[in-house]
Amino acid sequence: GSLRSQDPGPQPLELKEVFALFQTQYNRSYLNPAEYAHRLNIFAHNLARAQQQQEEDLGTAKFGVTPFSDLTEEEFSQLYGHPVAAGRAPNMDRKVGSDEWSES
């Protein structure tokens, strides 16, 4: 909330505070300062993305900090998505197994 009400946007210190809260909430730690800086950068990008999604959404959804806020879109997709299925599922118009269901 406070981030969105700011103009021209979050200052570095405030961003770091929000990121620290994120780290505490989701128990995140990073190996070295370079990794921390990298994840902070992604986090900032995701906050901006969430704000854009919020503006584009035609429903009532709220977008913001989530357990995945320190991941790039590609990392998120690689970690949680499965391969995109091309076309229709194989032979899904046919039932698998017998038409006659057994009592046993």
Binding site: Q53, T60, A61, P67, A89, P90, M92
Partner: protein, 234 residues
């Protein structure tokens, strides 16, 4: 088709929200959730099924690398059922994996599985009368999602590129000024994500490709005689 339906309100149907962690097994978690729900509805018996069995006994043997819901149903058919989560617990991305289906007692099984027509009205009717089903969606909108109803467009959530399977557990309409029809979906990213592990997607616009692969197992009543019809709680 009723106005609203929420299988979470029926005790013994929807199991707790799971967390797939670093294993790409949404397809197995959605399928297990589907069978658990149908078993609860048809047999009036609450079960928690082994996702690990689906992963270990996957035809390619690497269930954490992703898969499809129909793979899970084929595994259940090939193994003549599924063990309980308690007997064959979830371990996720462990190094040594071996199918241990024969070592454990089956606690639920299916007769077959089907794909529903890609029509949201039909899906709602089936959901309300038969039980929860699995769907596969484009998960692009979910990374930053917190609460509410996502109403995406095909430009910001391509319905052709579906990459995440979840369990459809109900539908309703929001109470906002412009009431928005929505689907209620159970995710597998833990209860701290979204609306206690669930999220809502707009209903009626094929949001994020929800109608592309509506799959469900079929579980029959234990005996072929008139059973008390279980309906979806509003």
């Amino acid at each position: 088709v009723p106005r609203t339906c929420d299988w979470r309100k029926k005790s013994g149907v929807i199991s707790s929200v799971k967390d797939q962690k670093d294993c790409k097994c949404c397809w197995a978690m959605a399928a297990a959730g589907n069978i658990e729900a149908l078993w609860g509805i048809k047999h009036h018996q609450s079960v928690e099924l082994s996702v690990q069995e689906l992963l270990d006994c996957h035809r390619c043997g690497n269930g954490c690398e992703g898969g499809f819901v129909w793979d899970a149903f084929i595994t259940v058919l090939n193994n003549s059922g599924l063990a309980s989560e308690k007997d064959y617990p979830y371990q996720g991305n462990v190094r040594t994996r071996k199918c241990r289906a024969k070592e454990h007692k089956k606690v639920a099984w299916i007769q077959d599985f089907i794909m529903l027509p890609d029509c949201e009205m039909n899906i709602a009717r089936y959901l309300a009368t038969e039980g929860p089903i699995t769907v596969t969606i484009n998960m692009k909108q979910l990374q930053q999602y917190q609460t509410g109803v996502i109403k995406a467009t095909s430009s910001n959530c391509d319905p052709r590129l579906v990459d995440h399977s979840v369990l459809l557990v109900g539908f309703g309409k929001s109470r906002s000024r412009h009431s928005i029809p929505y689907w209620i979906l159970k995710n597998s990213w833990g209860a701290s994500w979204g609306e206690k592990g669930y999220f809502r997607l707009h209903r009626g616009s094929n949001a994020c490709g929800i109608t592309k692969y509506p799959l469900t197992a079929r579980v029959t009543h234990p005996v072929k005689r008139k059973q008390q019809q279980v309906s979806c709680p509003p």
